[in-house]
Amino acid sequence: MRHTISVLCDDTPGVMTRVSGLFSRRGFNIESLSVGHTELPGKSRFTIVTTGDDTVLEQVRKQLQKLVHVIKAWDIKHAEAVEREHALLKIEVEDKRRAELLQIVTAVQARIVDSSASIWILEVTGDTSSVDNAFNLFKDYHILESIRTGKIALERGPSRVMKK
């Protein structure tokens, strides 16, 4: 089963190694990982997608919580959260297919963020299945390069992160 874990931690050198190293050391799988600053100065937040049953999830969470720089690690319930992924695709555009490609771009709410000669860079944002969906639709065109971020997730309602 797939789980999303949120980790609030100190933004210090090596914290990434400690978090990701813990997963490999304990034999936990990382499906995706994204990390960035938060509204709290000096703090970072990871969103990690992992697979395993509930017991594995609980072990992951507790082991993360043991890291000295981790302030809080918790499981994010899919139904109670807004989840987003971001993707960039570099596509070669044939003149005769330009119009239909543009239709798909509009349909999946992608944006053309760069265009030079016959090459476009498209930006897609959405939950995992929307991004999957966009990739499916662009599959028939010549994708030169593509890249996806890991998922980020935020729960609806009041903050679960402790305030000072």
């Binding site: 190694t17 017991t55 072990q59 507790k62 082991q63 043991k66 000295v68 302030i71």
Partner: protein, 553 residues
């Protein structure tokens, strides 16, 4: 102190002094010389090892008998990597340690400089936490934090990696503000609701049992455990790490549990209806096959580390907290009760299954029997192997912090240096290392350290000219094909000891055992007794099947 200028090295030594550090076990090198230069001006004693692994085990042994964090120090590169086994050993057994390593100067980090190694990277999985110091002004705060982390919550090793130029950097000492450790808040007191539920469960039990783990000793909660067991009349079994957590000769004590456990201990686990497990992580050597482990029992698991709850064995009722504090809470609420039928059942099982090894001749059980009669209450240190399990069974330990062994990592070579550390920590006690001929040779050079530093330990080498535990496994599972387990012509350990300035004895007959031990104790310097075993019998009981009750005894 105003704005006194001081170097990183001086700040470190001051910080160590203010932590009450009395001794550092170490080995110098180019990258730690500034610290040594300051150490020379300090009252802190330095014990020079002959190998950095030895220094780490010494600090570990020191910590296990004193309850204080042990300190070891090594230089950068190979010095630091030589600490790795010692750190892993301390980590597995939750031993509080502060390790200090030198590092190449900051501008050279990452350039593959001479004797450069990424020791913080290497030790992430085997330390509770580690630091690469970036500037001298951090040293006072970080050192304080390192001791705090090492010796609170689930204890463990913490490493400080200090670049040489940081040691030399001069800074104005002032009280800088550092953020608190927001994410580090160990739970000490057991949740009152869980305590009440535990008491209710224990009250209802017909066949209650206590599993005493090493956490009881780490929390110095042995007396409270005795109090609880006596008040509630609950039998006790122990893990290898928990051997000193309950007096072994106590009528409620039913011995070592697990893979090499006593029949009555494993019988108790299998038949108990409620188990109170205190300060144990249910390591595989203590549980045996998990599927059949304690299936009749509702398990109350109390541990300082929440991640241990239901990690290996599902717990019916978890109590996160310090073993001492939780036992205090339990003792207060538990009513006095007798479980005469149950304890009788266990006593009968014990009588039906006495330990069966030969108790005469130059054998490990007989040597241990004679040792016990000559030295009733020593600190016993062991190495790792067959002699270790023999010692767990045949040498009752009745005082706290008096059994030092490498339980989790199973580090051969732990014995001699750990005994040295133990003797430094408790010079008032007799410290005896029970070693194997394999284990002894892994760190025997530390006998020279003991001689030079005047640390009179006694090492009894159980010499069977082979790797006993390997041979036993090859007996059991590899058709007696003794590949790579026999040493052939062995070293003359008595002469080896003498060459290092220690007293050396050789025992080949039963009547030589007692005199050799007596002379070792009277030698006034480190002593090594080469006990040439006549019949290196295998150590039993041993679980051979899919449950704790399928065994060879």
């Amino acid at each position: 102190m105003g704005k006194a200028k001081l170097s990183g090295a001086k700040a470190l030594v001051r910080a160590l002094e203010s932590q009450g550090v009395e001794v550092i076990f170490g080995y110098p090198g180019g990258a730690t010389l500034p610290i040594y230069d300051e150490l020379a001006k300090s009252s802190i004693r330095h014990v020079l090892s002959r190998h950095e692994q030895g220094a780490a085990h010494m600090a570990d042994g020191y910590s296990r008998v004193t309850g204080k964090a042990g300190v070891c120090m090594a230089t950068s590169g190979p010095g630091a990597t030589n600490l790795v086994t010692g750190l892993a050993n301390a980590y597995m057994d939750s031993s509080p340690l502060v390790a200090i390593t030198g590092q190449v100067p900051r501008p050279m980090i990452g350039n593959d400089a001479f004797q450069e190694v990424d020791i913080t990277g290497i030790t992430i999985p085997i330390t509770k936490h580690n630091y690469l110091l970036q500037q001298a002004s951090e040293i006072p705060h970080v050192t304080q934090e390192a001791f705090f982390l090492a010796s609170t919550g689930r204890k463990g090793p913490v490493l400080l990696d200090i670049p040489r130029d940081v040691q030399l950097e001069v800074f104005s000492s002032h009280q800088a503000k550092y953020p608190p450790l927001e994410g580090y808040r160990p739970t000490v007191t057991g949740h009152p609701g869980q305590i009440k539920r535990a008491v209710t469960l224990l009250k209802s039990a017909q066949k209650p049992l206590i599993i005493a783990g090493g956490g009881v000793s780490l929390a110095s909660a042995r007396d409270l455990l005795v109090q609880f067991a006596e008040k509630a009349d609950v039998p006790v079994v122990y893990t290898l790490m928990g051997k000193a957590s309950f007096p072994n000769s106590h009528p409620l004590c039913f011995g070592l549990m697990g893979y090499h456990g006593r029949i009555e201990a494993n019988y108790a686990i299998t038949n108990a209806d409620v188990i109170l497990a205190v300060g144990t992580r249910f390591g595989d050597r203590s549980t045996g096959p998990l599927k059949t482990f304690a299936t009749q029992a509702k398990i109350i698991h109390t541990d300082i580390d929440p991640a241990e709850i239901s990690k290996n064995v599902p717990s019916y009722l978890p109590i996160v907290g310090d073993a001492g504090r939780v036992l205090e809470q339990l003792v207060e609420l538990i009513p006095a009760k007798k479980h005469a039928q149950w304890t009788l059942e266990l006593r009968q099982t014990a009588e039906e299954h006495p330990l069966k090894a030969k108790s005469s001749g130059v054998t490990i059980p007989n040597i241990l029997r004679i040792l016990k009669s000559l030295v009733p209450d020593p600190i016993i240190v062991t190495d790792v192997g067959r002699h270790q399990i023999f010692t767990a069974h045949y040498f009752p330990v009745d005082s706290g912090h008096s059994f030092v062994t490498s339980g989790g990592l199973g580090t051969m070579g732990f014995g001699v240096p750990a005994a040295i550390g133990a003797k430094v920590g408790r010079p008032d006690r007799t410290v005896i290392d029970i070693a194997g001929d394999g284990s002894f040779m892994m760190t025997c050079q530390e006998v020279a350290s003991a001689v030079a530093e005047d640390i009179p330990i006694v090492v009894l080498v159980m010499n069977d000219y082979c790797l006993g535990m390997i041979k036993q496994l090859q007996d059991a599972s590899y058709g007696r094909r003794y590949e790579a387990c026999k040493f052939g012509r062995n070293v003359d350990f008595a002469r080896l000891a003498e060459s290092m300035g220690a007293a050396g004895f050789k025992v080949t007959r039963e009547d030589e055992i007692a005199p050799a031990i007596e002379q070792s104790l009277a030698a006034g310097r480190p002593a090594v007794v080469d006990c040439v075993l006549e019949d290196p019998g295998n150590v039993y009981p041993m679980v051979t099947g899919s449950s704790l009750l399928e065994y060879v005894e």
